[in-house]
């Protein structure tokens, strides 16, 4: 694993501040009214009783039970531990498209990539605020080499992640099968993993790579980022469509292909959702026109309960 080279130009720093601000705003809104704090050390959650056997720690003996029934039993408690969290961010070239991507201020605003970056930052910040160690895996992208930062605590680490997110640009091909396979292989057991991707590669090829996450016992969230206009093929004129990742151009009249495209999208979504669920994950469709706080809320509220239980 190679450490990223931090980029400290003024524009990057501004982006970091902007990103940090948005992530904190969203997180604060989510945590408003919540006072639960994490306690490191002895667990307090009662689990069950166990017959005392010679050699066991006598501090666990329940004297009240002994007093009532003259039996020696040991009280057992669930232990609360740290949950390593990793955000896998797909920033392949296709994430750079979007109707407002070109004229957006700041850069990437309105693109799938911009949406995905903010979503990743928010998740990282939220998890960090919960005291969890957070890590980041950026798949594809331009401007930085391949990033793989394992979960770690600490403010500086979070700043580093934010800096990376502010610096990276969509580009290249994700090659999800290999990328997810690698991430899954080095994942710590019982991790929380959020995959933020457009999934625009043959699902039948990359979905099996999720098996690595399942084998590691990871709690997988798949944030399927997409531009709703693209998925509706909402264009008024025939055009030569091309992928930023390369490949052949296709001449298509959107109005005539609308019905067939809807069918294909539905089949594709069903295929991806089915694959994610099959490997124990949760599928979260994330259209870029949906307010980000709604997405994060929907994701983390469910996750809050899950994180608290594990």
């Amino acid at each position: 694993m190679s450490q990223p080279e931090p980029i400290y130009d003024a524009e990057s720093l501004a982006r970091v501040r902007h990103l940090h601000l948005r992530a904190r705003t969203l997180t604060d809104a989510l945590l408003m009214g919540e006072h639960r704090s994490r306690r490191v050390g002895q667990a307090v959650e009662f689990a069950d009783y166990q017959e005392y056997l010679p050699g066991m720690d006598l501090r666990g003996l329940d004297w009240r039970v002994w007093g009532r029934s003259d039996r020696y039993v040991i009280k057992r408690f669930e232990t609360e531990t740290e949950l390593p969290c990793t955000v896998v961010l797909d920033l392949s070239g296709d994430l750079g498209t979007g109707d407002r991507a070109r004229r957006a201020r700041p850069d990437l605003e309105g693109s799938k990539a911009g949406y995905a970056i903010v979503l990743a930052a928010t998740l990282l910040y939220f998890l960090h605020r919960h005291g969890e160690p957070v890590g980041l895996e950026i798949v594809a992208g331009e401007g930085i080499p391949h990033v793989s930062l394992p979960p770690r605590g600490g403010r500086n680490h979070l700043q580093l992640l934010f800096l990376l997110l502010a610096t990276v640009r969509p580009g290249g091909q994700a090659r999800l099968r290999d990328a997810l396979g690698r991430v899954g292989a080095r994942l710590r057991r019982r991790s929380w993993v959020a995959v933020v991707s457009d999934g625009m590669e043959e699902p039948s090829e990359w979905l099996p790579a999720l098996a690595a996450f399942a084998r590691r016992g990871a709690d997988l969230r798949f944030f399927h980022v997409h531009d709703p206009r693209e998925w509706r093929l909402d264009f008024d004129r025939p055009a030569l469509f091309f992928s930023p990742e390369g490949g052949a151009e296709l001449a298509v009249d959107p109005s005539g292909a609308q019905q067939a495209f809807d069918e294909v999208v539905q089949e594709y979504v069903d295929e991806v959702r089915g694959g994610v669920v099959r490997f124990g994950g949760r599928y979260l469709p994330v259209p870029t026109d949906r307010p980000l706080d709604e997405v994060v809320r929907a994701a983390v509220l469910d996750d809050v309960r899950a994180l608290g239980a594990r």
Partner: protein
């Protein structure tokens, strides 16, 4: 079926097919370029649409190519030639309706006869004809008759003539009918509309020459067949009397022309009114023969066999001749039984009148004593022989009444005959009063011979061809003498002895006759029983006296609608033909024959006033008319003679242009849809 082109050069336009092919190959490429982040999905869509396009595009190309080819075909002026069912009707302005009114057209289908249906169709055709069309009407059965003498534009008159057509019992001479139609066309083209069932195996084949002649004339025959499908009819083909058990048998042959087996109830009615029911089991399209036993006694005449068949009632009856069967009862009153057969009149009379028994001879003999005259049955006995009866007085009135009511009496002499008793008892009916018995010669000399009879006399007419000389060998040595009498139309001497004394005298009394033979009919006074003329004379005498009603009548078979010629005996005057209903039938005498035409099936008799019938005529319908099945068709004959006549032409140019338009619209729609998808 074939295709012809009026302008084959128009097919050169087929070269334009290259245009749609080239257009099909050309594709429009959009000018805009757009970055798209879901190319994976777009590639899937394009792949899917291409799968559909693989089907749609060839269809589009096919539609365009077909449109161009159809343009070329339409420009070439195509015509489809195909064989039509019947020649086309209309356009000539000269129409002859030929209606079959033969017996088979009386067949009933759906409650109406075929002729009724033909009349309705002909009327409907007349109703649809435009003004100015010249129309003629011909009807045919055994021969064709032009109902209208020439073609006329007066459709109302023709319509009325069609409505007046009635079925006949005749056959189907289609040739004659078509000949009349050709005559009405007067050598110019026209259309002959034929309303017929085309039934029977010979109707169409026999008309082939006339069909050919009409077609050569430029005319066409348009058959409007009214045959039932499937055909059904039961007909009696034959009924004939012959030998057999009891009084003989009538053999009835029935034919089923239907395609299903059927059991038909029939009834045989004898001339005396007796009826015998039978059931005939007929196979599909097959015949059955039934034999009906006639009673030992039956009147002669014409009998009838009738079966129940709703399809064609006209041929459900058949008439046959039946001779008198054992019913000529002769009562012999034996006044002198005699010691030996040679001294018994009965012995000789029995052998003369019924040598093989009554069944075959047609005469049945009852023998009784004088007292047994009480057994006289006027309804059964036709002739009474008083053979040497001593005293007829107790029975005189009864015998007189018997004779006046139509019975006949033969009185023969003998030793028992006394003038007083006979004159007293039979005064009113004896041809002459008896005076006494007189010896004409010595018994050993054999007696005096009889004179030659007049064979013009009805009684002796059978001896005209021979046997007349035999009367000269009849001798008598004793005979009755008579008181003088005056010969008249009612009292005649039929035979005399050579000395001029009457030997046989006749008297007509009322409806009966009395014959007086002045000698014996055994060997007592003469040798008559031993002579060759005895048997024929006795039988003729019984016939003459009406012992067998009409048994001596000539019998003829006839076909309804065809003339019958009956030879007349000499001296017969003013004969009358009586039809089945007893009414007089028009007839005419041509020399020694009488000619008439039976108009309906049944028994006809040629009768004279107060005499048995001279002849019986059993008139039946033509056998072949019962066959209602169609064998050959007029259309088939026309097709064989003039195949082009039935060829229809269908102009395909206009439909082709329409097809071009449709194809262009379809390809336009498909291209539009295809363009939106691609």
């Amino acid at each position: 079926m074939s295709l012809s082109l009026l302008a084959p050069l128009g097919l050169a336009l087929a070269g334009l097919v290259a245009l749609p092919v080239a257009a099909h190959m050309a594709r429009q490429v959009p000018r805009d370029r757009r970055a798209f982040g879901a190319m994976l999905l777009l590639r899937r869509v394009v792949k899917r649409l291409r799968r559909r396009r693989r089907v749609k595009d060839p269809i589009l190309l096919l539609l365009r190519v077909l449109a161009v080819l159809l343009v070329a075909l339409a420009a070439a002026g195509p015509e489809l030639l195909y064989p039509g069912g019947v020649p086309e009707f209309g356009g000539s302005g000269r129409v002859v309706l030929v209606v079959d009114r033969s017996m088979s057209m009386s067949a009933v289908r759906a409650g109406a006869t075929r002729l009724q249906e033909a009349r309705e169709r002909a009327t409907a055709l007349l109703d649809g004809l435009p003004d100015g069309v010249q129309v003629g009407l011909v009807a045919y059965d055994d021969e064709g008759v032009a109902i209208t003498s020439e073609l006329t534009t007066d459709l109302g008159r023709v319509r009325a003539a069609v409505a007046g057509l009635q079925p006949s019992y005749g056959g189907s001479d289609l040739r004659s009918g078509l000949h009349e139609a050709r005559r009405l066309l007067a050598g110019e083209p026209g259309e002959v509309v034929l309303y017929s069932d085309e039934a029977g195996p010979t109707q169409v084949p026999e008309a082939l020459p006339e069909i050919e002649a009409l077609l050569e004339l430029g005319a066409s025959i348009v058959p409007d067949t009214v045959a039932a499908d499937p055909p059904r009819n039961v007909a009696i083909h034959r009924a004939r009397y012959g030998d057999g058990l009891e009084g003989g048998q009538v053999t009835v042959r029935l034919m089923n022309y239907g395609t299903a087996g059927i059991e038909v109830p029939c009834e045989v009615t004898l001339p005396d009114g007796a009826s015998i029911p039978i059931f005939a089991d007929l196979p599909p399209e097959g015949a059955a023969e039934e034999r009906i036993t006639i009673p030992r006694e039956a009147l002669g005449g014409v009998g009838e066999v009738r079966c129940e068949d709703p399809d064609l009632p006209a041929d459900d009856a058949r008439y046959f001749h039946l001779p008198q069967v054992g019913a000529s009862r002769v009562l012999i009153v034996d006044g002198d039984p005699g010691d030996t057969p040679t001294r018994s009149e009965v012995y000789f009379l029995e052998r003369a009148l019924a040598p093989w028994g009554g069944v075959k001879s047609g005469v049945t003999i009852d023998v009784t004593s004088p007292i047994g005259l009480s057994a006289l049955e006027p309804e059964r006995h036709r002739v009474v022989f008083l053979a040497n009866v001593a005293d007829p007085r107790p029975f005189g009135p009864r015998l007189t009444e018997f004779v006046r009511n139509g019975g006949s009496l033969v009185v023969s002499a003998g030793d028992n005959v006394t003038a007083d008793r006979y004159n007293a008892a039979l005064e009113g009916i004896l041809p002459a009063r008896i005076r006494s018995t007189r010896a004409l010669a010595d018994r050993d000399e054999g007696g005096i011979p009889a004179a030659m009879p007049d064979t013009d006399d009805e009684l002796f007419r059978p001896f005209r061809r021979g046997g007349r000389d035999g009367f000269q060998r009849v001798r008598a040595h004793t005979a009755l003498t008579l008181e003088p009498f005056e010969a008249s139309d009612d009292v005649r001497v039929l035979l005399a002895w050579s000395n001029g004394m009457p030997a046989l005298i006749e008297r007509k009394v009322g409806r009966g006759r009395v014959l007086l033979y002045t000698s014996t009919i055994d060997l007592g006074w003469g040798n008559l029983p031993l002579q060759a003329v005895f048997m024929p004379l006795m039988q003729r005498m019984v016939d003459y006296l009406g012992g067998e009603a009409g048994a001596a009548a000539a019998r003829f078979d006839a076909v309804v609608g065809q003339p019958v010629v009956v030879p007349l005996p000499d001296l017969v005057v003013d004969p009358e033909v009586l039809g089945p209903d007893g009414g007089a039938v028009p007839s005419r005498i041509e020399g020694a024959t009488l000619r008439f035409t039976p108009t309906e099936p049944g028994a006809y008799q040629l009768s004279l006033a107060s005499a048995p019938p001279l002849a019986w005529v059993a008139a039946n319908v033509p056998e072949e008319e019962g066959d209602v099945r169609a064998y050959d068709s007029v259309v088939g004959a026309e097709r064989a003679i003039a195949p082009d006549l039935l060829t229809r032409r269908l102009d395909l140019a206009r439909p082709a242009w329409g097809g071009v338009l449709v194809l262009l619209v379809l390809q336009g729609l498909l291209a539009f849809v295809r363009g939106r998808e691609a």
